[in-house]
Each structure stands twice: as C-alpha cells, then as structure tokens.
C-alpha cells in the first residue's frame, strides 16, 4: 500500500507538470487552432536564461544569480517575451491557415529556436545547481517525498485556480473563452483578436517559464532537448483531453502523467523500456474511439 502511494505521488507530480504544459498548448489552440510545438523551446530557453552563454559545462549564473523572487520574475519575463515574439513574427501572419499548416509552422519555429540555443550556448548538456534545497525528501504521512514534487503539485494547484479565476471572472478571460468558442463571432461582437491571442501567448509563456524552473530544480541539467519530452507528452495530453478544452487539457496532462508512471511501475519487466510506445499507442486508440478527445467542446470545428 505504501509503495502504491509512493507511486501515486510520483504520478501526480509528473501529471501536474504535464498539465501545466498541456494547458499552455490547449489555451493557444483554443484561440487560434495552433498546436504550438515551440512550447518545448520556450521551456528550454527559459532554463538557459539562467546562465551566461558560454561553452563551459558548468556555466556562470546569469538570471540564476539573482535573489529567488527576481530570478523567477526574470525567467518568466524572458519566456513571455519570447512567446510574444514568436506569435508576432511567425504565427500572426499565418493566422488564417489550416491547423495542419500551423502545426508545420510551429515545427519550423521550434527548429529555429533549438538551433538558436545551440548557436548561443553550444549543444552540450550543462549542469546547474539551483534550488537544490528543494530536492531533499520531506516526510509526508509516512512517505518520503522529494520537496520539489510537493512544490510542483502546489504550484500547479495555485496556477490552475488562478487560471480558472482569470477565465471566469475577468473581462479578458471571458473574451478569451468567447474567442475559443467561436472566433469569428467573438470578433464581430467586439473582442479584440490581437489582444486575446497575445494574451493566450503571454499565459503560455508564464506557464512555460514555470515549467522551466520546476524542471531545472528537478534535473539540475540544461540540455537543448529538455523541453522536447514534456511537450510531446503534453501535446498528446491535449489531444486525449479534447483539443480546445482547458479542462480536457489539464485532465489529459494528469492522465498521461499518471498512466506513464503506472506503466513504468507495473508493466512486466521486459516491456518497461517500451513504456512510451504504450502511452503513444493510447493516444491513437483514444483518437479512434473519440476523435474529439474525452471532453468535447461545442466549437470543435474540425474533427480532432
């Protein structure tokens, strides 16, 4: 039983992290039908912003050297600016394209950013020690849980509540939901398209920056592909949850995280290395059974 609880804690911590990434992807998809693969590179760049660009394997800290509140703000700011820049330069001119074209364009943006990091920071993984105090396990109800997992769950809970309040209570949030429901109609009724879409990217940047910080504390390494796996899993999480539905995105994130950890723990030994294949297989199965995902929103214009 204790073992099972331990596994569940791992599962929920991973699920929280994926839910954050999935929410960012889902939010942007909601307002402009773009599956933003570059979300992974937002995460990577946020993490790299902590250090001075250099070839060294243990680089000097840049934003990472600031006091913690400033460091957090700095990373978030960098990622938000980056998200806004990609929206302005790459995605805005393509706004009327079909989702498949947008998906290709986000691949291009991602490829661009990845090689930009390689150009500035070189391609080798680097180690970085930030917030290591958080990795020591703490005792919760007889379970030994790494502090960072508790932080991850807490941060996710707070952000989820904040996001819900924002979407339900503020004028901007309501406009965003209207735009996600029916973009054309919302525009006709006076919702400013550019502002709503920019806002979606701001939030996706905030979520991305948060994930970079959580990831970097967890792993202590910088790698130009560090954002790739989270974004792939989160991407499929939004698909499973139902594209365009935020509840679905969060739910999908948790589902993918939990099923991934459970498969890791309970698959027969020989099959464990193929865990990811089972998770991706699950995506195809869900798309076949429910092409629109688990939670279908009214505005699912395309069969997804």
């Amino acid at each position: 039983m204790r073992n099972f609880l331990q596994v569940m804690v791992d599962a929920i911590a991973l699920g929280s992290l994926l839910a954050l990434v999935a929410l960012a992807i889902g939010l942007v998809f909601g307002v402009m039908r773009l599956i933003n693969f570059a979300q992974g590179d937002y995460i990577t760049i946020g993490a790299y912003a902590l250090v001075v660009p250099a070839a060294s394997l243990t680089p000097t800290l840049l934003i990472g050297a600031l006091p913690i509140p400033l460091m957090v703000a700095g990373v978030l700011l960098v990622v938000v600016m980056l998200a806004l820049a990609t929206e302005r330069v790459a995605f805005r001119p393509l706004r009327d394209s079909d989702p498949a074209t947008l998906l290709i364009s986000s691949f291009a943006v991602s490829y661009f950013l990845q090689h930009m990091i390689m150009l500035v920071h070189t391609g080798r993984p680097k180690s970085i020690g930030i917030g290591q105090a958080l990795t020591t396990p703490i005792e919760v109800l007889g379970l030994r849980v790494p502090g960072i997992q508790v932080v991850t769950m807490g941060v996710t809970a707070v952000l989820l509540i904040a996001l819900v309040l924002f979407l339900k209570r503020t004028p901007m949030g309501i406009q965003m939901r209207a735009a996600a429901e029916n973009f054309q109609m919302a525009r006709l009724l006076g919702v400013p398209a550019n502002r709503v879409i920019a806002m979606a990217f701001v939030i996706s940047g905030l979520l991305g920056g948060t994930v970079s910080l959580l990831l970097i504390v967890q792993t202590g390494t910088l790698d130009i592909r560090m954002g790739l796996m989270p974004v792939i899993f989160a991407f499929f999480a939004t698909v499973i949850g139902g594209m365009g539905s935020l509840v679905g995105a969060a739910l999908g994130g948790f589902l993918v995280g939990v099923s991934s950890v459970l498969l890791q723990s309970y698959l027969p030994e020989g099959l464990r290395p193929f865990r990811d294949a089972f998770v991706f297989g699950l995506v195809i199965v869900i798309l076949l059974v429910r092409p629109k995902g688990l939670i279908v929103i009214g505005a699912a214009r395309e069969r997804v």
Partner: protein, 350 residues
C-alpha cells in the same frame, strides 16, 4: 496522325522527363568532373528526393500532412541492416534477431526488395488503423506513430543495439544507384498520380463530401496512397543506410522528418515537381551554408558563420514560404510540355 500520337505520349511522360533529365545531367557531370565531396552531396540529394517524393505521394494526393513516414524509412533501413550487416558481429550484438537474420547474410538486391516490402507491410498495418481518421486527427496520429517507432527501436536493445549506431553496413550506393532510386520514385509517383486511384484520392482531398457522394471510398484510396508512399519512403531509408554505412535510430526521427517536410513545403506540397525542386533548392542552400561555416577567405580575414545558422535559415525560409507562398515554389503546377497559346498551359495538377 502519327505526329499527334507521338506528341500525346510525349505529353504524358514530359513531366517525368523534365525532372529526370536534368538530374541525369547533374549526375553525369558529378561523375566526370565532381570532387568526392560534391558526389556525396549529389548522392545525398538524390536519396532525399526518394524520401520527399515518397512523402509527396501521400501528402500531396491526400492533402493530409503526415509526420510519421520517416518511421517507415527507419523500419526498412533497420531491416536492410539486419539482412546485410556485419556477419561476424551480428550473432553477438543483436542476439534478439531470429536465426534467419542473425546467422545469414543476404544479397543486396533481395535485401532492398524485402526491406521495401516490410516498410509497405508496416504502412499497411498502421494505415489500416489511421486512415479512419481525417484532417488534424490523422496528422497527429501519424506523429504518434513516429514516436512509437522511435520509442520501440530506441529501446529494443537486443535487435537494434538501442540508441547506439550500428556500423559496417555494406555501402554500395553510388551516385548512379541513387539516381536509379530517384528516377524510380519519380516514375512511381507520376504513374500513381495519373492513375484512377490517384485521381480519386485527390478528389477526396479537394472535397470529401462530393467525392464520397460520387462513390469514392476515402478510406481505401487513402490507404493505397499511404502504403505506396510508405514503400517509396522505405526505399529511401534503404538507400540511406547503404550510403552512409551506419544506422542509428535518431537518424530517423524529428530532424529528418522536419528536413524532408521542409523540402516538400518549400517546393510545393501539391506538386511532384515541387517535391523535386524543394530538395534541389534546400540542398543547394545547405551546401552554400556548409561552405560558409567552413569559412570564406576575404583578403586577410577569414569569415565563417557560426554552426547552426544553416538550420535557422532553413526554418526561416520555410516560414516565409508558408506565409507568402503557401503552395510552395511550384504552386500546384507540374512542369508540362509547352503548348500553343491558349491551351492548357499551367493548369492544376492532373
């Protein structure tokens, strides 16, 4: 009347000839005068043509963007490796292979045929499931299929040696062999395109409802396109592994997917000529950047662009094409036989 018949035939094969003949000319020049480096660049480009034309067969005709086809190239390439590679090491390093692969080595011809067939079978199995979906859902599931391929092959240590490279695959792919592959791929794509199956698939691409109302099965026509393109991409994978002599699972993952897709997008997703033109253009651009990265002498100074600029330029170019010329350099046109004024020139793909 004879002249008219001749012209009619010429008209049918012209779009293939106009692509193949310049390629042949380049190959002849490369073979006679080119440096080893240039020959390798040309060979690599010809193999990319096989891959991109393979992609085009499905993407261009069905209108569904597939992110998963490089997986079929990987499947075929690994099978070719198992059949031909390193007779001494294989029994020790790849213990999980069945005896007929672990202990035997096969001739290159039969290897190519069998590997392409294996890619076709894989495409058939995956297509049987995925072709029920359409639009974005189909694209997403092809991406999931690529990840499944990668997760399986990267971890199936007993037959693929995990993420490590397998070395010692026989290299027989010269510039002429690659040319043969490219010509074959282009011919297959063209024959498919002018066949009734190709026509039906494109009809479904342009208007699903009207096509279905005319009695066209979306599912079966797309499945045929998917399997055929899986096989051609598989051929590309076989050529690739027998050109490079090594194979690793990361060679058949997101980077190659992105580059081949970029070539198709730049050339024009809905034109066979576009697939070829895209490869030629992007290979030339990449070659220029490779030289720049190596450094250019300007008097006393030696200028070189940092590593990574080539990829950034490629991505930027692709975005520009998507924004300003969505149908790529070729638009939706094929290179047709010039006609007398006022007839048929520059019309839509057949």
């Amino acid at each position: 009347m004879h002249a008219g018949k001749g012209i009619a035939i010429l008209e049918r094969v012209w779009p293939v000839l106009v692509l193949v003949v310049p390629l042949m000319a380049v190959v002849v020049l490369a073979d006679l005068y080119g440096s080893v480096m240039f020959q390798r660049t040309v060979t690599d480009a010809l193999i990319k043509i096989v891959l991109v034309v393979g992609l085009y067969i499905f993407i261009g005709n069905s209108g569904i963007v597939s992110f998963g086809h490089i997986g079929f190239a990987g499947i075929a390439a690994y099978f070719a490796t198992w059949m031909t590679c390193c007779a001494m090491m294989k029994p020790i390093t790849m213990t999980g292979l069945p005896d007929f692969l672990r202990l035997e080595t096969y001739s290159l011809w039969s290897t190519a045929l069998v590997s392409v067939a294996i890619a076709g079978v894989a495409a058939l199995v995956i297509g049987l499931v995925l072709m029920r979906l359409s639009g974005l859902a189909a694209s997403i599931s092809t991406l999931a299929a690529l990840f499944i391929f990668h997760a399986v092959y990267a971890n199936w240590d007993s037959v693929t040696m995990g993420r490590a490279s397998i070395v010692g695959v026989p290299t027989y792919v010269t510039v002429w062999v690659a040319l043969g592959g490219a010509v074959l791929a282009i011919a297959v794509a063209w024959l498919y395109q002018i066949s009734s199956y190709g026509l039906a698939t494109r009809a479904a691409r342009d208007d699903e409802v009207a096509a279905q109302a005319s009695g066209i099965s979306l599912y079966w026509n797309r499945l045929i396109a998917f399997v055929l393109s899986g096989m051609v991409v598989g051929l590309g994978g076989v050529l690739m592994v027998h050109f490079q002599g090594t194979i690793s699972v990361n060679a058949f993952y997101l980077n190659l997917t992105f580059i081949t897709l970029a070539m198709l997008v730049v050339g024009g997703m809905r034109s066979l000529a576009g697939a070829v033109v895209g490869v030629v253009v992007l290979t030339s651009v990449a070659d220029v950047f490779r030289r720049l990265e190596a450094g250019v002498d300007l008097g006393a100074m030696r200028l070189s662009t940092p590593v990574g600029t080539q990829e950034m330029f490629l991505a930027a170019l692709m975005l520009l094409i998507l924004v300003f010329r969505k149908d790529g350099l070729m638009g939706r046109r094929e290179l047709r036989l010039p006609r007398f004024p006022g007839t048929g020139q520059g019309r839509e793909a057949p």
